[in-house]
């Protein structure tokens, strides 16, 4: 059963893409196109962030419109540590993850008291709060941002070069995709996905939906902060624009574009998002005038995303395995 699932298009196509991405730096240096490495590194990092958001948004049904905050916390953990002369990557990572966990715990505890529209608004409001806080810290560059003087050093491994960040991001992405696949079928993930559909029933079978959701929100924020650490190292620069509300919106677009609640969806969505952006930029500087309507069309018609489309391919070919577990529609 396990082996047959690996040969479904919805599984092997993302895995193939992931494999191809592993050789991008080699190919890029072969063709002497270092820009490719930086471009795809950005995709990998946002794929990590989008996958992290997918835990709350897709599995948990928590429409967080403020996940850019956690990305920003991760980025500023590197920026502020480097500013104060701390170069240890382990410490950067620790600060990022701990700060994100603390922030997510407070935000989640307050936000989860509400639901629906108010949840969207309050997560947005918290992200804006963080944004304005960083803008106000003139000592750390304020609006103009802060360059990261010393990148994260994990012993002999230094995230100073683009290719180092690239491989690190690739490994983190593989780790998070693997975790997301495991969580999806683990008891915790089952409870979380159950709570998305019906909180009362999850409570009724003796689980605490509120706690499950809060844990998912915190884990999601922590994973997003790891993406932030990578982003700060890639750009060697952090600025409040990492936390802009549009970034939160873009992360949601990536998740939905790729396929909400699926394992590979956010990765595919991030890939398509940036490739489409790059292609459109080749035609016009006003790429958003084209991309905006695309997003509207996705919202209107493409609700299952790329992953949903790949799953449709699964069904076309006769498969000896059990029927696919179709992601239930969002309530």
């Amino acid at each position: 059963m396990k082996t047959s699932s690996a040969f479904r298009p919805s599984t092997w196509i993302p895995l193939l893409l992931l494999g191809l991405l592993a050789i991008v730096p080699t190919v890029a240096s072969g063709f002497d196109q270092p820009y490719w490495t930086a471009f795809f590194a950005r995709i990998l990092i946002y794929a990590v962030a989008a996958s992290a958001l997918n835990l709350a948004l897709g599995y948990g049904g928590l429409v967080s419109f403020g996940h850019a905050l956690f990305l920003g916390i991760g980025a500023y953990a590197v920026g502020l540590c480097a500013f104060h002369g701390i170069g240890s990557g382990w410490l950067h990572l620790l600060v990022a993850v701990a700060a994100a966990a603390a922030a997510a715990l407070v935000i989640g505890a307050i936000s989860l008291r509400t639901s629906g529209m108010a949840f969207i608004m309050i997560t947005l409001a918290f992200a804006q709060m963080g944004y304005f806080l960083l803008v106000s810290l003139k000592h750390y560059g304020g609006d103009d941002g802060l360059s990261v003087g010393s990148t994260s050093r994990f012993g002999p491994f230094d995230l100073g070069s683009t290719s180092a960040v690239y491989y690190a991001a690739w490994l983190v992405l593989v780790a998070i995709l693997w975790s997301m696949a495991r969580v999806r079928v683990a008891p915790f993930g089952m409870a979380l996905r159950g709570a998305r559909q019906n909180v009362k029933r999850v409570d009724a079978i003796g689980l605490q939906a509120h706690h499950v959701r809060l844990v998912a929100f915190v884990l999601s924020g922590m994973a997003c902060a790891v993406a932030g650490v990578l982003l700060a190292n890639l750009n060697a620069f952090v600025s409040p624009s990492t936390l802009a509300w549009t970034v939160s919106g873009e992360l949601i677009v990536m998740v939905v574009l790729g396929g909400i609640g699926t394992v590979f969806g956010p990765f595919l969505g991030a890939l398509l998002f940036f490739v489409l952006e790059e292609v459109l930029k080749g035609f016009t500087e006003h790429w958003m005038a084209v991309f905006g309507p695309v997003v509207v069309l996705v919202a209107l018609f493409g609700r299952r995303g790329i992953a949903g489309w790949l799953e449709a391919l699964n069904r076309k070919r006769p498969s000896p395995g059990p029927p696919d577990i179709v992601a239930p529609g969002r309530a």
Partner: protein, 306 residues
């Protein structure tokens, strides 16, 4: 810190609050009645600002500018409702966020294509360029006019919602759209009308904000996010709640912007205080919202539901 400064800033806060109310009134009804999250409301505000600025510039009459802003925002609002928004009412909020986020990207870029990235500056109309004398204290007539218009709209919308048949249908639709529809009311038309009126009010707000703020691409989003804060504080779907919350947010934000730097100057260096003050003032509104939601998740003045 003199009394005149305080009064002037209170009036500025009132003016900002009234502007927020014009945006919040339409948005909260669309939230409350259709349960629709409309991030593109800020784009309608921007459209109103551009239509107002261009028509005012072409005709020389500010009234024509306001009318043009109302017409443009109403027309585009109705087109959006019919083509996109009405298809999404029955979907979940995520689809609303996604679709209207796409619209925001589109409209911001469209404006940049048509009129460039530079802001347009709008003159205050001659009639209102003077000052008003209030008990020996002067205040800009234009800002005063904004406050007056906002109060008129507030009273008007209250009368509309509580004293007319349409208002009754709106209130009924907010409570139980299926039942209203079953009674033979064209709920689709009612929704379109409501969305259009909300868009029109946003357009008016945009046109009136033109001479006070700069008219440029992306001008709708900061004010939209503040408006969302207003709606959440006021209680989703409640127009009177939106009114009080708009005034509270307007005053808190404005007073914070002026007095926080002054207070911070006592504590730290002047340059740091001047920089940190406005940003902390912007945060104050979000802190207020978080506090309200933590204590009263349904908002301060929730709409009564049957």
């Amino acid at each position: 810190m003199s009394l005149t400064l305080l009064v002037a800033q209170l009036l500025n806060g009132l003016q900002y609050g009234v502007l927020l109310f014009l945006l919040a009134a339409g948005l909260t009804l669309v939230f409350g009645v259709m349960s629709f999250v409309n991030l593109a409301h800020g784009s309608l505000y921007m459209i109103g600002a551009y239509a107002g600025a261009l028509a005012y510039g072409a005709s020389g009459s500010f009234a024509v500018g306001i009318l043009a802003a109302m017409a443009a925002a109403l027309a585009i609002g109705l087109v959006l409702e019919v083509t996109i928004v009405s298809r999404l009412y029955r979907r979940d909020h995520l689809d609303h966020v996604l679709a209207t986020f796409g619209l925001v990207m589109f409209f911001n870029e469209l404006v940049r294509i048509l009129w460039g990235p530079q802001p347009i500056f709008v003159q205050v109309p001659d009639v209102l360029s003077g000052t008003v004398d209030l008990f020996g204290f002067t205040y800009s007539s234009y800002r005063f006019a904004i406050i007056a218009v906002g109060l008129v709209v507030a009273v008007g919308s209250r009368l509309l919602i509580h004293k007319t048949r349409i208002g009754m249908l709106i209130r009924a639709g907010a409570q139980n759209p299926q039942l209203v529809s079953a009674l033979g009311v064209n709920i689709g038309l009612l929704n379109a009308l409501l969305f259009g009126v909300g868009a029109m009010l946003a357009g008016v707000a945009g046109a009136m904000a033109g001479p006070v703020l700069s008219v440029q691409s992306g001008m709708g989003e900061p004010v939209l996010i503040t408006t969302l804060v207003v709606i959440v504080i006021g209680g989703i779907g409640s127009v009177s709640g939106a009114f009080y919350a708009a005034l509270i947010v307007g005053v808190v934000d404005t007073l914070g912007r002026v007095f926080l730097p002054l207070i911070l100057r006592q504590l730290t260096e002047r340059s740091i205080a001047d920089a940190a003050g406005p940003a902390l003032a912007s945060m104050s509104v979000y802190v207020l919202m978080a506090a309200v939601l933590a204590l009263r998740p349904q908002g301060l003045f929730p709409a009564r539901r049957g």
